[in-house]
């Protein structure tokens, strides 16, 4: 019985330990580079409105402003992007900014912790540019994205 108790304790400890939670898994995933704050908070509208061409300018602002970028996969899973190839500048980095709203095919390592998926992109296999063309449906999100003088 002591050995059963000990092994149960060890198993529970392993489940709770950060080292277990942070064990990586190699994956390939395709999806759009999104602004996670607008997506998760709903501050600008529903999930369909805060992706693609309608939300592109806002995605640039948020990426430049250091809001974390994510990869929204085709099945709806969001991966928090912590590194893209050689760039670990996940707060306002040039690579993250350049890829705003683009759909990419990526190979990398997935780390799961406390309900979030974290992605370290080792290679952007394909950059498919902006694929979601939703500006005709939603206009600009937010509405003030384009200054009146530029409309």
């Amino acid at each position: 019985m002591k050995s059963l108790l000990l092994s149960t304790f060890v198993a529970c400890g392993a489940l709770m330990s950060p080292a277990f939670a942070a064990e990586g898994e190699r994956i390939s995933v395709k999806g759009e580079i999104i602004d996670t704050w607008c997506y998760f908070s709903g501050v600008m509208g529903g999930p369909d409105a805060v992706i693609g061409s309608a939300h592109h300018t806002c995605a640039l602002w948020c990426s430049a402003g250091g809001i974390p970028v994510g990869l929204l996969a085709e099945d709806g899973t969001v991966y928090m992007v912590m590194k893209i190839e050689d760039s670990s500048d996940s707060a306002s980095g040039d690579t993250q900014l350049r890829l705003a709203s683009h759909v990419i095919e990526a190979d990398g390592m997935l780390y799961k912790r406390d309900g979030l998926n974290y992605l370290v992109v080792e290679e952007v296999v394909t950059d498919l540019d902006i694929q979601v063309r939703n500006a005709e449906d939603f206009g600009t999100v937010p509405p003030f994205a384009i200054p009146k003088a530029d409309r």
Partner: protein, 191 residues
């Protein structure tokens, strides 16, 4: 035997009870009227998230270039601060960087929306530095940006003046599809 089984059950149930902990008591966080927002005040260690996950750990949490996280003292849960307290488009790393590797108090809103995968996402509003009783606002991003971009000084919000954002829009347009398509979409949207 009964005692042993009870102990095993308690061990298995422990993470579940920790997850259900209420961190809202005593919070002074202001509502942003967001779906899924829950006030949350807690102590946490400021960490470089990439370092925490992979062991890739540069000095000073990446010196402001990386996303910083909060490992909550009570349960070791990694919280991801996506946003600081300023209205607009600013993250929280600039506010957390001075506290790299320290345990601080934080107050803000957790965003929980399981339908879209939001869990342990945080709107950081206030920070109580280690060893202090004073709460300070998490609102320093714009000041850091202005120091970094003196050439972009001027009227209006920073995001209209940011050199990299302006360059992207000049190259690809506001919708990111090229200047010709930009013009065509604007004609439809603003007709």
């Amino acid at each position: 035997m009964k005692k042993t089984l009870a102990l095993i059950a308690a061990l298995v149930a422990a993470p579940v009870s920790l997850m259900a902990q209420d961190f809202s008591q005593g919070s002074q966080a202001k509502s942003w009227n967001l779906y899924g927002e829950v006030p949350a005040i807690f102590d946490a260690k400021v960490v470089d998230i990439l370092c925490e996950l992979t062991g890739d750990c540069p000095d000073n949490c990446g010196d402001g270039n990386r996303q910083l996280g909060l490992v909550r003292t009570d349960d070791d849960v990694l919280i991801f601060p996506n946003k600081n307290s300023q209205t607009g488009f600013q993250g929280a790393s600039a506010d957390l960087l001075p506290h790299c590797a320290s345990t601080i108090g934080v107050d803000g809103m957790l965003i929980e929306d399981p339908d879209i995968g939001a869990q342990n996402i945080y709107l950081l509003q206030l920070i109580r530095p280690a060893g202090s009783d004073e709460w300070i606002k998490a609102n320093t991003w714009s000041k850091r940006w202005a120091e970094k971009h003196p050439e972009a000084a001027g009227k209006g919000p920073w995001f209209r003046r940011d050199p990299r954002v302006k360059a992207e829009i000049e190259r690809e347009g506001y919708f990111g599809l090229g200047l010709e398509e930009d013009k065509a979409i604007k004609a439809i949207v603003f007709e």
